[in-house]
């Protein structure tokens, strides 16, 4: 019953490709949206750059509504939207769609957290120079918080890889799904182990890069 690696090998390889595909699109789309939401969450807070109680409350509540929904329920819940946008509710692209939305909201919180500690003096300096608020956000706020943000995105990346393991629910693929379906569900610990090792290798690489960039960005 245990297929040998000659059968599984190509599927594993394909799964790596699928994971990289799903994760990179999700971190691109979700990460970007999350950056926007996170910056807004931070900046619309009382006393901050774009102080706006309405936007803040709406975003704050919206993020809290989306985030705690169990992901498999969430996938189904956004199904109609997925159908309208992607044209299908199953397969990798449908998963990417749902993951991107979820990732956006998760990222929002990570970004918000990492911006909270920014020195307000620096922002003031930029304001005093007549920089627009958008420019301040892009050229001061984010660069100043870059080191923790990079660690935050590394964290997010791993979260997305984790999330992508659920892709199998709706007909997606990827490493997590492969580990569950071909390894775990079949009690094939060898497959499980090898697949998890591959995931860990990818994550480890991402973390190495993340740490390196964060160190660079710290400028201390």
């Amino acid at each position: 019953m245990n297929r040998d690696w000659s059968t599984l090998g190509p599927i594993l390889l394909e799964s790596v490709r699928e994971t990289l595909y799903m994760v990179s699109i999700t971190i691109g789309v979700g990460g970007f949206l999350g950056l926007v939401f996170g910056v807004l969450l931070y900046a619309t807070r009382k006393g901050n750059l774009l102080q706006n109680a309405v936007v803040f409350t709406v975003l704050n509540v919206a993020v809290n509504i989306v985030r705690p929904i169990p992901f498999i329920i969430f996938i189904t819940a956004v199904g109609p939207l997925t159908l309208a946008t992607i044209g299908t509710t199953i397969g990798n692209n449908a998963v990417i769609f749902a993951m991107s939305i979820m990732a956006a909201f998760v990222t929002a919180r990570i970004v918000e957290q990492n911006l909270v500690a920014t020195d307000p003096g620096v922002i003031e300096a930029a304001r005093a120079m007549g920089a627009s608020r958008l420019r301040i956000i892009v050229t001061v706020l984010i660069p100043e918080a870059l080191a923790p943000l990079i660690l935050g995105y590394t964290f997010l990346l791993i979260g997305i890889i984790d999330m992508s393991a659920l892709a199998g629910y709706v007909g997606g693929g990827g490493l997590g799904n492969f580990a569950i379906v071909y390894g775990y569900q079949r009690f094939n610990w060898e497959v499980t182990f090898v697949t998890v090792l591959v995931i860990i290798a990818i994550v480890q690489l991402a973390q190495l890069l993340g740490n390196w960039f964060a160190r660079k960005a710290l400028h201390r």
Binding site: D119, G121, E124, A125, A126, M129, G130, R135, P143, H219
Partner: protein
């Protein structure tokens, strides 16, 4: 009216309830175009807050702050940006971007102002050369010394050649030599480009060498303002007097006086040297810049006239707003009657503070007596060798500046 910055009953309250702090309290003040305006006052008096009202980094709680004809308290952020683009600011805490190199920090306002990359590079090069940080261009702020950080802040504020410059303790971390260079530059941009400069400072050098007018703040209020020379030469308010005295340091403090008496047992007086204090009548020479009356020669002449011998033991004559000012403490030796006559003579022209003789000092301190006001008891800033040294109970720094 050519005032470029006007405060109209401007008030800034931080917080609320019983803890509210009136950092700026009903200030009405005009700063003329092209002048260098000094703001002095004790720590916590509200100087930084006042200046931050100008570019609306703080919004006034009430009142108006009119900059270039526009009330910045009513402007929206987008409109404020235009006003701010014409205002450079040097921050007390530097506020450098840790994520940018020195060159990046200095180039940032140029980027905001839309300069081309090439122009920026050239300009940043000039500025860094000016502040002596050419070789630190690619360093990050975390690797700079305190003074280097401040110089980056100065270069950044000057980058776009703003027409108003707000300098909040702009030279506090700099050595005197570099300070002189910076002040010389400020004076020059003021004189030649007509840049209006508001300087907050507690450094006498700064006020002395560049301020045309000064305002003295205490408890959020501007308690006195006027031409720098006048405020220093004839401070009206008690706080101003104390501030000026401790700023000028031209009068011996109690412990210095003790040592002086030790060396100079004779009668000592402190004579104020002030422009325009003509001693006698025919004696004062007047030239284009201002009368030279009241400078040392009059004392010397008076000594000669009264047959009294004098030793200058302390004091200084310096310039404020380019006019001479200071005081000399002189030990007098000679006939008691002649000395009394000399003092009476001098008093007709300027302020003389009689320190008496070593064994019978007429009062212990001169530091807080300025402009001939009657001697008062020491406010306790001297050494009290008998006091519990790490106990502080007896010589707390009086809270001069903090608003309630």
């Amino acid at each position: 009216m050519t005032s470029v910055i006007s405060f109209r009953d401007a008030t800034k309250v931080f917080g609320g309830g019983p803890d509210a702090v009136r950092a700026v309290d009903s200030v009405t003040l005009d700063i003329a175009r092209g002048e260098i305006f000094g703001v002095i006052g004790y720590s916590g008096a509200g100087k930084s807050t006042l200046v931050r009202l100008i570019n609306a980094l703080e919004t006034a709680t009430s009142g108006q702050v009119i900059v270039d004809g526009q009330d910045v308290t009513t402007l929206r952020e987008a409109e404020l940006r235009k006003v701010r683009a014409g205002i450079g600011m040097i921050f007390q805490q530097f506020n450098l971007m840790n994520s940018r190199t020195v060159a990046g920090n200095v180039g940032y306002p140029l980027k905001v102002a839309g300069w081309s990359k090439q122009d920026r590079r050239r300009r940043v090069g000039e500025l860094l050369e000016f502040v002596g940080l050419t070789d630190k261009a690619r360093s990050y702020p975390a690797k700079l010394s305190g003074g280097q950080k401040q110089r980056v802040g100065i270069a950044r504020a000057l980058a776009t050649s703003p027409s108003i410059l707000l300098a909040d303790e702009a030279t506090s971390a700099l050595d005197p030599d570099t300070t002189q260079d910076v002040l010389a530059l400020l004076r020059r941009v003021n004189r030649e480009l007509g840049v209006t400069i508001v300087v907050i400072t507690h450094e006498m050098d700064v006020v002395r060498s560049i301020a045309h007018r000064v305002a003295v703040m205490e408890h959020g209020k501007v308690i006195e303002h006027g031409r720098a020379y006048d405020v220093f030469a004839a401070p009206r308010e008690r706080a101003t007097q104390r501030f000026v005295a401790s700023t000028l340091q031209d009068r011996p403090s109690p412990d210095v006086l003790d040592r002086l008496r030790h060396r100079h047992p004779g009668r000592m007086i402190t004579v104020t040297v002030r422009e325009g204090d003509g001693y006698g009548t025919g004696d004062s020479r007047v030239d284009g810049v201002g009368g030279s009356g009241g400078s040392g020669v009059d004392v010397l002449a008076a000594l000669r006239r009264h047959g009294v011998d004098g030793t200058i033991v302390f004091g200084g004559i310096t310039e404020i707003d380019e006019r001479p000012f200071g005081s000399l403490t002189v030990e007098l030796t000679g006939d008691d009657a002649a000395i009394d006559a000399l003092i009476a003579d001098l008093r007709r022209a300027t302020d003389v503070h009689d320190l008496g003789i070593g064994d019978a000092p007429s009062d212990r301190t001169t530091a807080d007596v300025v402009g001939g006001s009657p001697p008062e008891a020491s406010t306790g800033e001297g050494d009290e060798p008998d006091a519990d040294p790490y106990g502080f109970a007896m010589d707390a720094i009086r809270r001069h500046g903090g608003p309630r």
